[in-house]
Symmetry: C2
Subunit: 373 residues, 2 copies
Amino acid sequence: MSTSPITGGPILARTGGGSPRREAPPVQEKAAVLRGLENLCRERGLDQLALRIGELAELVRWDMGEVEIALRSLPRSERAVHRGAHHLLDQGGKRLRPLCVALAARTGSGFGAEARELGVAVELVHCATLLHDDVVDDGDQRRGAPAARTIYGNAASIFAGDWLLIHALQRVRQTGIPGALDRLLTIIDEMIEAESIQLEGRGHLDLSADRYFAIVRGKTAALFRWAMYAGARAGGADEEQAERLAAYGDHLGMAFQLVDDLLDYGGDPAETGKTLFADLREGKTTYPLIMAREKDPALDGLVRAVLDASPETEASAHAALAEAIDAAGGIDACRTLAADHAARAIASLDGLADGPAKHALVTVAQATVHRER
Amino acid sequence: MSTSPITGGPILARTGGGSPRREAPPVQEKAAVLRGLENLCRERGLDQLALRIGELAELVRWDMGEVEIALRSLPRSERAVHRGAHHLLDQGGKRLRPLCVALAARTGSGFGAEARELGVAVELVHCATLLHDDVVDDGDQRRGAPAARTIYGNAASIFAGDWLLIHALQRVRQTGIPGALDRLLTIIDEMIEAESIQLEGRGHLDLSADRYFAIVRGKTAALFRWAMYAGARAGGADEEQAERLAAYGDHLGMAFQLVDDLLDYGGDPAETGKTLFADLREGKTTYPLIMAREKDPALDGLVRAVLDASPETEASAHAALAEAIDAAGGIDACRTLAADHAARAIASLDGLADGPAKHALVTVAQATVHRER
């Protein structure tokens, strides 16, 4: 039997339908992100959704704990590359991609060791892109903490990203799940292509909606698609069923990114861990602005005012632009499209046997539209 | 049959013992590097070696042309990521790693489509590391031309490296050669580990020989090892024979890097495409200096003088340090160790059936010690 290069433990053993083979990992009662979302929905009077998020958190508590333990069990050393990678991993994060793997696996035979490895891998790929992105964007903050590159340097951040990427590929390879590695390589290629398009469009306010969608599909949706596909295959799904779940991932990823765009214009930095208008300052035009510019060409002046703002004028420039984007319908358009993708994600589940995992996937899609971090 | 994602052509068809299935590619008569080396050996009165390098160049002319065509057939676009990658690929380079793949394959059934794909892949991995290294080292020159990052930016260089890496892995995956992908992932992990050790030791003159060897083994020798292993398997070698050839690659890589170290202290920048003392200025202590410092602790002052030199004092500071390293035996020690590794590379071929490929591998190892670029 193969053993994991990371933990030394067996990685191909299946635990079956989610039944633990050893004590549940010592993780918090429910994933922090899900608890936050549950509370938020309750505050908004969305009691039914809050209840279902609570059930979802229960359902995947073991799975997510397993993923978390594995993530934190990656080799550590005093070297900047390892410390940089762990600095990011230890910040937590939403772990939404591993959640997709877990739920996709649970629509079938359940969350076993293979699904755990795939869940770890998808988070590692995601973190690898963040480590490279922070260097590319000169990003100072990530997940509400200083970016790894600000502590350990750009070089360590680049190599840490390379390291996590290779580790992820090794793990996927070792599961032997049919199609998982080939598809992951293809999807990473798509992610780089999307980064490349984004890089080219940087600083151009007049990014077309088509190019924006190409970027989001590649940068965000593709990896969600893979998480669902790979998780489904780990749970024994056939190709057709896995493709159905992959389509869910695609739409969920789109919805997720559109909400991210909204939060950049109106989120609470204490919640999101990101500074407001960060995309804009990095030269990235996102959906609310694209839609608003179509209605109100005068917006460009307000954008320039934000980019040129001094510390004294920043707050008023931000407020003026956010208000103008909202007035021109940019926020509504973005929220509507996010809701549409969430609905299409849910529609992708048609034909899937009813059960707790399917219900949980519906809940995730619905909740994504409401998230504030 | 699988088709190549790059050329659209079949990649799994074997051409058999190197016999071309279509017209020979329109490449220069002999690889430029080999021709240069042939002339150099002739100038030095090494007529026998010059003759054998000429034969070697003939032997792999087709193979190397195939690799070159495939490298230049990678997708191109106006985007900075693609342009950055092609900027480096189009500079040429020694293509020594693909040469290893070709010769290893030719010790068996010959250079076919699989060997070509592996040869392309090994060069892509190498180029990926160069693109990342140039960002990490703030490198301005590469292969005698401005580094890609100076033209297309650090961001494009990072993503271009990511892109080439993923392309390489896809190609290796698609050959289906047993063990090739797993070993390549392991070796890239070793390469990153070596980068990480180097990063940590940066700026420390007192790098131990052990750490130096760990760095070189990971950064350079590991990929040569893989090239030989994978090429051997593509040529139908069994595990034992492939391991023998892998050991050759290991020693050849060590010899190659040691000569690189020598050239940093005394090469001709017009030949090497690198500025002199570049390693030192990047904070990298290499073998000649490690050996010389053991004999002459006063060297540290001369090193500082090089690092602190103004444009006016640079030439004399360089000359003084180069002379002191030579006087302390650093150059001889490095050349001797390189020759030792070359000899051990050749010894690794014992037990291999005689033939043109084996003779060519002997020639490559001998010539490596003499190269001046």
